[in-house]
C-alpha cells in the first residue's frame, strides 16, 4: 500500500480541473516520472506559487469537484510521482475519483462543514495528516491544534487500495 500521511497542501478553490493539475501539452510523455515537474503548473489560485508550494507535500485538502474535466490519468500520476497519494475534498469528478482508486490512491470525501473547519483551523499554518486506514480516520495537526476526522471508504475502493489498483483486482476476478 502507498503512504497516505504527511504534510498538507491546502488548495482553497472548487472545480480545480485536470488541465490545471497537468496541462495537455505534457500528455505526450509516456512515463509517469516525466510529469513530476509540471504538477499544478497552470493552477489559477491567488497566492499559490508553483513549484514552491508543492514541495514535501503528501496530502491535498481542497473544496468541491476536484479533478473535473479530462479523463487523463496523468492527473493522479502527476500527484503520485510527487508523493501525494491522498486528496481530501467535498467531492470529486467521477473519472478523476475512479482513476485515483484505480491507482491505489485515496480520494476522501467529507461534508462541506468539515472541509470549512479544516481550512479555518489549519490552512494558515504548517499542517500534517496521519491516516489510519484500518480505523477509517485521519489525524490532522498544525500549531498546537489536533483533530481526529473520520472518513468513509467503500469496501470496493478499499480493496483497490489494498490490491494496489484495479488491474491487479480485475486480473484476479474476471
Amino acid at each position: 500500500m502507498k503512504n497516505f500521511s504527511g504534510n498538507v497542501l491546502f488548495l482553497d478553490r472548487s472545480d480545480i480541473n485536470t488541465d490545471e493539475i497537468i496541462p495537455a501539452k505534457y500528455l505526450t510523455e509516456i512515463s509517469k516520472e516525466a510529469l513530476k515537474p509540471f504538477l499544478l503548473e497552470d493552477l489559477k489560485l491567488d497566492g499559490f506559487e508553483h513549484p514552491r508550494d508543492i514541495q514535501d507535500k503528501s496530502v491535498i485538502i481542497t473544496r468541491a469537484n476536484f479533478g473535473c474535466g479530462s479523463s487523463r490519468e496523468h492527473a493522479p500520476w502527476a500527484l503520485e510521482v510527487n508523493g501525494i497519494n491522498m486528496v481530501i475534498a467535498e467531492n470529486f469528478a467521477r473519472i478523476f475519483r475512479q482513476n485515483i482508486f484505480n491507482c491505489g490512491m485515496i480520494a476522501a470525501e467529507l461534508p462541506a462543514d468539515t472541509i470549512n473547519r479544516m481550512f479555518s483551523s489549519f490552512s494558515d499554518v504548517e499542517t500534517s495528516v496521519q491516516t489510519d486506514l484500518k480505523k477509517n480516520m485521519f489525524t490532522i495537526s498544525g500549531n498546537d491544534k489536533t483533530e481526529e476526522i473520520p472518513f468513509s471508504i467503500s469496501d470496493f475502493d478499499r480493496s483497490l487500495v489494498e490490491a494496489g489498483g484495479w488491474v491487479g483486482y480485475a486480473d484476479k476476478h474476471y
Binding site: S14, D15, N17, D19, E20, P23, A24, K25, L27, T28, E29, I30, K32, D42, K44, A64, N65, C68, G69, S70, S71, R72, E73, P76, N91, F92, A93, R94, I95, F96, Q98, N99, N102, C103, S154, D155, F156, S159, G165, W166, V167, A170, D171, H173, Y174
Partner: protein
C-alpha cells in the same frame, strides 16, 4: 419500478456486483486514441499480458496530434500502431483515414443503441446520443477494458432534462447545452447520467444530439444520453441493414433502450428554449455562460471551428452560410478543422472549403489539435480564441490563453467582425 435508459443497459450487461453500488459491466466497444492508450499498452506488456479481450470490439484512432509534431508524439503513434498489428485489431484509423474520435467512430457505425462503450477520453459521453452508455475513463480502466472487456461503475443515477419550446433561427444545439451547463453548473450532474428528452431533442439530427451529449461531462455527467428513435435508425441504417429486415424492425429492437414511463430520476428539469439567445462562455469554466449579445465587441485573436463538439458537416455548413462572400477581419486569424476525412470530402464537394478559404481561414486536416493546445493553433500568452470546442479551462489552448466557447455560426460571425458578435442567422428571440 420502471427503468431509465442507463438502468436498462446496466441490467443487460451486468457481469458482477462486487459490493455496495459498484457494478461491473460487459463492454460492447473499447475506443482508443494515442494519448491515453500507449501507457496502458506499455503496462500490459510489462505485466506479460499483452493481449486484448476481443480485437473486433476495439476501435483505434490517432487523432490528438496528427501528423505527429515531434519524436514523442511519433512514438505514441508507433506504440498504438504496433500494438494494433500485434493484436489483430482491424479497425485502426491511421493518418489519411483518421479523424476526431467522437466524430469518426459514430460515422463508422461503432456506436449503437444499448451499447456499453468506454474510452480514455472524457468526451466519450458523446456516443450516448445513440442511446448507448458511453463513458470516459482513465488509463487503468481502459487497460482492464482492453484486457478483460469489463469496467466497474457506480450504479448510474439519472437526471432528466426535458427540452421544449421553439428554437429561434440562428440558435443551435451548442447554445442549448452551454445554457444548460450555465444553469446546473460544472458539478451539477456529477456521478449522474443526463437523459435529454423532449420535442426539441426528438426533432434534432444525430449531429446535433452528439453536440448536446458531448458536453454532458462539462456538467460532471458520466454520460449524456438520448433515446433511440427513427432518426437514430436512419443514421445507422447502412451498418445495420443486414441485421434487420426493415427500419421499423430495427426501431422496435432499439425501443428496448427507451426509458420506461415510470422510470425514477434523481432530478427532472423542464427547460423551455423559446427565446434562448446564442450563448458564449466568459471565464475559465464551462458554466460561466452568458448571451452573445452581452459579450459583443469582446476582442479576439483567433477563431477555431472544429472538434468533437462542433466539427461535423452541419457545423461547417452553418459557419459557411455566415461566411459566404465575406472575409475575416484583418486583425485575427482563423482555423477550421473538419472532424473526419468524410466530413472534409463532403465539405469539399459542397463548396464549403472554398468559402472558408476565400474568407481567409486555414483549413487543416481532421485532428483534435488546437482544442487542447497540443498542436495546430496553440495560443500565445494573453491571446483570446473564439472557439467551437468544449473547454475554456485556464491554459487549455495554450499557457496564458483565453477561450470563449460558442456555436460555429457565432464563431464565423466573430471571425468576420474581429470581435465576438451574433451571426446574421440570429434575428432576435422568437425570430
Amino acid at each position: 419500478m420502471g427503468k431509465t435508459i442507463a438502468e436498462k443497459i446496466f441490467a443487460s450487461h451486468e457481469v458482477d456486483h462486487p459490493s455496495g453500488d459498484i457494478h461491473v459491466i460487459r463492454l460492447d466497444a473499447v475506443f482508443c486514441h494515442e494519448i491515453t492508450t500507449p501507457i496502458a499498452i506499455n503496462d500490459l506488456v510489462e505485466r506479460g499480458m499483452d493481449r486484448v479481450f476481443d480485437p473486433d470490439k476495439i476501435k483505434v484512432v490517432i487523432d490528438h496530434v496528427t501528423p505527429a509534431k515531434d519524436s514523442k508524439t511519433a512514438m505514441q503513434g508507433k506504440i498504438l500502431r504496433d500494438w494494433a498489428v500485434r493484436n489483430n485489431i482491424k479497425d485502426f484509423f491511421d493518418i489519411g483515414r483518421n479523424g476526431v474520435c467522437h466524430a469518426i467512430f459514430p460515422e463508422k457505425g461503432f456506436a449503437r443503441p444499448g451499447y456499453t462503450i468506454i474510452m480514455g477520453d472524457s468526451h466519450t459521453c458523446t456516443h450516448g446520443a445513440f442511446g448507448a452508455f458511453a463513458a470516459g475513463v482513465g488509463t487503468t480502466d481502459l487497460e482492464v477494458g482492453i484486457l478483460k472487456g469489463v469496467c466497474a461503475f457506480k450504479y448510474p443515477e439519472s437526471m432528466r432534462i426535458n427540452i421544449t419550446g421553439r428554437l429561434s433561427s440562428g440558435v443551435f444545439a451548442k447554445d442549448i447545452i452551454l445554457s444548460i451547463i450555465g444553469k446546473i453548473g460544472v458539478n451539477g450532474a456529477t456521478n449522474r447520467v443526463i437523459e435529454f428528452t423532449g420535442p426539441v431533442i426528438d426533432s434534432m439530427t444525430m449531429e446535433a444530439r452528439m453536440t448536446i451529449c458531448n458536453m454532458a461531462v462539462e456538467a460532471g455527467a458520466t454520460c449524456g444520453v438520448c433515446a433511440p428513435d427513427m432518426i437514430t435508425v436512419d443514421y445507422l441504417w447502412d451498418f445495420i441493414k443486414d441485421e434487420y429486415p426493415s427500419k421499423e424492425s430495427a426501431l422496435k429492437a432499439y425501443r428496448e433502450y427507451t426509458p420506461d414511463n415510470d422510470a425514477v430520476y434523481a432530478d427532472i428539469i423542464e427547460y423551455d428554449v423559446s427565446g434562448l439567445e446564442p450563448q458564449v462562455t466568459f471565464g475559465y469554466k464551462p458554466d460561466e455562460v452568458k448571451p452573445v449579445s452581452e459579450m459583443t465587441g469582446e476582442k479576439i485573436d483567433q477563431v477555431y471551428i472544429g472538434s468533437c463538439t462542433n466539427g461535423r458537416i452541419e457545423d461547417l455548413r452553418a459557419a459557411a452560410t455566415v461566411l459566404d462572400g465575406k472575409r475575416i477581419s484583418d486583425s485575427i486569424r482563423a482555423i477550421v478543422s473538419p472532424a473526419t476525412p468524410d466530413i472534409f470530402s463532403q465539405a469539399m464537394e459542397e463548396g464549403l472549403l472554398k468559402i472558408f478559404m476565400d474568407a481567409g481561414f486555414c483549413v487543416t486536416n481532421p485532428t483534435c489539435g488546437a482544442c487542447l493546445g497540443m498542436s495546430n493553433g496553440v495560443l500565445a500568452e494573453g491571446e483570446v480564441c473564439a472557439s467551437t470546442t468544449n473547454r475554456n479551462f485556464n491554459g487549455r489552448m495554450g499557457k496564458g490563453g483565453m477561450v470563449h466557447l460558442m456555436s460555429p455560426a457565432t464563431a464565423a460571425a466573430s471571425a468576420v467582425a474581429g470581435h465576438i458578435t451574433n451571426s446574421k442567422l440570429y434575428k432576435g428571440s422568437g425570430g
